[in-house]
Amino acid sequence: MTSLVEVDEVSKWFGELVAVSEVSFAVGPGVTALLGPNGAGKSTVLRMLCGLTPPSKGEVRVLGGDPRRDLALSANIGLVPQQEALFEGYSAYGFVHLAAVLLRVADPDRATRAALELVELDPDDRRGVGTYSKGMRQRVKVAQALVNDPTVVVLDEPLTGLDPRQRLHLISLFQRLGEDGRCVIVSSHVLDEVERFGSRVLVMAQGRLAAEGDYRAIRELMDDRPHRVRVRCDDPRMLAAGLLGANGVVGLQLVGTDGVVIETLDAAALRRRVALAAQRADLRLHEVTPLDDDLESVFRYLVERR
């Protein structure tokens, strides 16, 4: 995979505050989610990718160039910044058109209309963006980021203020952009939606990169944390008794009248053992559900250590 964005041992401090510490990663085409709690350094990393602030140490390369020094690179980067403010006196069309002109788009009018239609805004709406709702303002920001068809798209909390339908629409848009070969980097707190972007994540905590890659694969690597699987069946006590001596099972907990949560170091082997144990005890299985294979659990383990 060709890397479109490369971050090499980058640190950033503001006075005595270290916002980002020795972060290295490389991102290619597709959608990559940047996760982390507030104050983790996500926005600082995104700002460095766009050249808005220089790294205190290390190197950032976007499309092979230095985004801070190479002015021409900004024509290939689209940014949806976190702050809400827009040029209030402008209409959505005017705002995006201004971006198109400054980005030297060949046909600014057509590109503006296309970008606004992409985010389901009316190009002929002459109202100032100052009258817009939060969600509409957010969509204007996305439109101006995409008007020049950039190769790298950086989005800082792009789903803020959007209703569920608009969120789904934009998520689908970002996925399409990723599939078209663009490098899309999204920061978000909304974990269940980030799961829908795709599975590649960069997890940051306290200024450091805690993990990167497919979050399921990250979960597999966390061998210090047993997997938790819930099984519902006719007689959970009997099932638990049958699994107690099995290899790889490190804990059992009865829940409710029909369930048992099993902690295991080998989730794949557990599936076979559960089936065998149920068969031996002549039990009927109603449900077998992994409880911590989702992004939220991975995030919690990495960031909050619980």
Binding site: L52, L71, S74, F87
Partner: protein, 251 residues
């Protein structure tokens, strides 16, 4: 439209639109109107000739020149320039919208020049025109009017450059600008000749004195320095602003 002009004009229009508000322009025009009323009052009053530095000066010209110097060059021009120029890039930075200009393949110098030009464009008619009318109303003659317009324009060029830079350097640009205008130029620079040459007001007064042919008390700078220095100050300040903008952390 060429690629060069295509970037400057939208930035110019953007800054112009963000600065022109009814409240700002209305308040400054009201002040200008007050100046016109005062000028007319001076014109209506009987003015006796004054003996200044051994020279007899027409009373109307003397009163008019002093009024233009104190009300116009010391108050109206610098404050108007401050209100508009400090806001040109400063407001964009404070609101968090500067990123929408910065993250574009546009040379920083073009952004700065366009922003300064917009400030100057909106400030000039708001301050120089009423001041010129006030000067005419004093009955001080064409020389006074020409001197007023020239002095105010030259001062506006310098102040626009300085306050554009100030707007980017500090969040409290208006307060520090006011301190510069009233503490530095109003008090400190009047204490000594050397300090006076570090005040834009001195050069503006010198232009007024030279063009209107009226001897104003205090430090006066000879030509061509009285013309060249304020313009050079404005240009250097804009160069500094460009340098600063290129190195700035953008929110």
């Amino acid at each position: 439209m060429s690629a060069v002009a295509s970037a400057r004009l939208p930035v110019f229009r953007l800054v112009l639109r963000s600065q022109v508000s009814r409240a700002r322009v209305g308040a400054l025009l009201a002040l200008g109107a007050v100046g016109i009323v005062v000028g007319a009052s001076l014109g209506a009053a009987d003015q006796v000739p004054e003996l200044v530095d051994g020279r007899v000066v027409d009373g109307g010209l003397w009163a008019g020149a002093r009024f233009v110097s104190t009300f116009g060059l010391s108050l109206l021009v610098p404050v108007t320039a401050l209100v508009f120029a400090a806001a040109s890039l400063g407001d964009l930075d404070e609101e968090g919208t500067l990123v929408y200009l910065w993250l574009r393949p546009v040379r920083r110098s073009r952004i700065v020049v366009a922003a300064a030009a917009a400030s100057f464009t909106v400030a000039w008619p708001v301050v120089v025109v009423p001041l010129g009318v006030a000067a005419a109303a004093t009955g001080g003659g064409r020389g006074l009017v020409a001197g007023t317009v020239a002095a105010a324009t030259v001062a506006l060029v310098a102040y626009t450059g300085l306050f554009c830079a100030l707007g980017l350097v500090t969040k409290r640009s208006l307060v520090w600008g006011l301190l510069y205008v009233f503490i530095w130029e109003g008090f400190v620079a009047t204490a000594a000749d050397s300090a006076a040459r570090l005040a834009v007001r001195t050069y503006a007064r010198s232009v007024l004195s030279g063009v209107a042919d009226v001897p104003l008390r205090g430090t006066v700078v000879d030509s061509p320095a009285r013309w060249v220095v304020p313009i050079a100050v404005g240009a250097v300040a804009l160069a500094f602003t460009t340098w600063r903008l290129a190195r700035r952390d953008i929110a």
